[in-house]
Symmetry: none
Subunit: 334 residues, 2 copies
Amino acid sequence: MPTPTDSDLPASHGLYPIRHVCAETGINPVTLRAWERRYGLIRPLRTPKGHRLYSAEDIARIRRILELLDEGVAVSQVGRVLQHETPAAGSSDRDRHAPLLLDDAAFGTHTHRPGGGIAPHVLDPITDTLLETTRALDTVQLERSYARLLMRHGWEGVHERAFLETYETLREAARHDPLDEARFAVFTAWAVSSLSDQLRSALQLCEGPTCPCVVPASGHRRLNGLLLLLASARQGLRVLPLQDVVSPAAMQALTEQLDAPAIVVHTPSRSLQSSAFEGLQRLLRADGVPAFLAGEGARGLADLNGPRPLEILPPSPLAAADQLSRQLLDPAER
Amino acid sequence: MPTPTDSDLPASHGLYPIRHVCAETGINPVTLRAWERRYGLIRPLRTPKGHRLYSAEDIARIRRILELLDEGVAVSQVGRVLQHETPAAGSSDRDRHAPLLLDDAAFGTHTHRPGGGIAPHVLDPITDTLLETTRALDTVQLERSYARLLMRHGWEGVHERAFLETYETLREAARHDPLDEARFAVFTAWAVSSLSDQLRSALQLCEGPTCPCVVPASGHRRLNGLLLLLASARQGLRVLPLQDVVSPAAMQALTEQLDAPAIVVHTPSRSLQSSAFEGLQRLLRADGVPAFLAGEGARGLADLNGPRPLEILPPSPLAAADQLSRQLLDPAER
DNA sequence: CAGGATTGTACAACATTTGTACATAAATTC
DNA sequence: GAATTTATGTACAAATGTTGTACAATCCTG
């Protein structure tokens, strides 16, 4: 067994003690340890007694860190950058340079990997991307992927079809595999939050009369409702989102108070507690401003006869939004 | 349609502190902050402690702003121009740069609104403001008011008490008056959306292991759950929000896949369909990583004996988040 | 020209970041 | 076994940031 040469490096193993690394890079050992402790920037191997052993890659990584620092990146953020620079490196590497504690297991390698998992290729390529990214269960990654898709294909391009298609595909897959169920849950949560967010932004730019919209609070129609709201708001229609559990009385009061020109009601899921469902029926049957019926089940609700004018919107959220805004917005302002 | 630059978004995912941005662009940090405060020209990300982090895009945007200023455009108008220039690129971006706050305009210490105050002053003044604003049923205004409160009292100041107090007050009022029910619905919808949005932003800065959190999908505990998630994320804990309808199997799969150090379960509403409720019980009874129980009813769930370690969190969402992050995050000098 | 809004900057009071120092214990080297 | 190096935890301090408030110089506008 060759003893490590005294003065210099045990280069035979390619592993260097901290003193060598510091001499090489000019960093104070204390700093190097602080980086490791605080940000997990480098995670050297250890001797059985705990002494650090840096590999050549570690040193290269440190050099890269110095570059980034020089560039002005905050030390606390360097880790994130590096993580994105070396996404596909072997998972062992990833473990080693993870932030402080353990790290997440998978994260979206997301290079077009047609050999991949769940999705057959009949699907829209956009859907494919979304699905692929969702597999990693990393919402931040999902966010990025989504932003990129938006940039490439435009809002309509992504939401015309792919968005709901992704949702449905995942929903289907969720039936068979618990992990897919988890993916479905994560995607749904993210989607709802993202759409709500966009809705809020879009509404800031809307003017004109407010139009209360009753949309499903839960269930698989929820995204449809949100898409309808968002698409309408993007056209400039100032919608006011309400969940389908509001009482008819509240809706009436609201409509009056706001002097709303119309209300929109999205078909609720069948599973909705019948009390709420009946509430909606009662609302529609009551007198008042015109009501627009959205969603696949709209036709079924249109039979109610009452004094309130009812109008059926197309099943596609985007198309429905088009028609809505066409009828409710003053053409002069657009 | 060929995309002009199909190159991926920012090659550098670096996030820069304000000092670097200022050195780079020559703007006084004070000015940069004033632009943000007054016109929302750039809305950088924030570290959990509130330090600004500018992305490469942000810097590019600042350069563009300087160009416009040079062209003679008024600072106050730059936002409008930019918004027009960048039409449909991710709406979330639009939100990030939306104008929001007022400035030096001395908004009085909220003594009396000329519109006639109804709320008795036993309530927190912050609550009072929120209630007052909610009366108008205008979410955009609510947004502004909220932003102002945040500025004045800080996030904790607003959410420690006032936020939920407002919610409960409205919920109570909703029982008696349809219009108040409508207000309650509007406030809730807005609150959920706002908190979700903040959560998404906060998560972008979180590192470390992902911690799945089961929170109520609906009902009056929903905001509690969201607050817990958000407060935790603000401390740097990378939570993964899941609604309380996920199956135990999915949770197990998820936990394994992510190699999560623990799971968090917020007490569901009693009204939760018993199947889902039992699912949670089953999940808690199963073997696995430690589970933290949050919410007022946590104590009631802790009796289950199973192999999984259970720990009860304080009922206040903020306090719970504190404890959570203290136990799950690396104790390195925070 | 007076009164008001715009807009860049200054300052105070306080919090965070981050490199480094120190004390103590343990390992390594000679 | 003495001298040196390292690990770990705690602690600091200087630089940097943050918010709220204030103010002066401009620029409008009637």
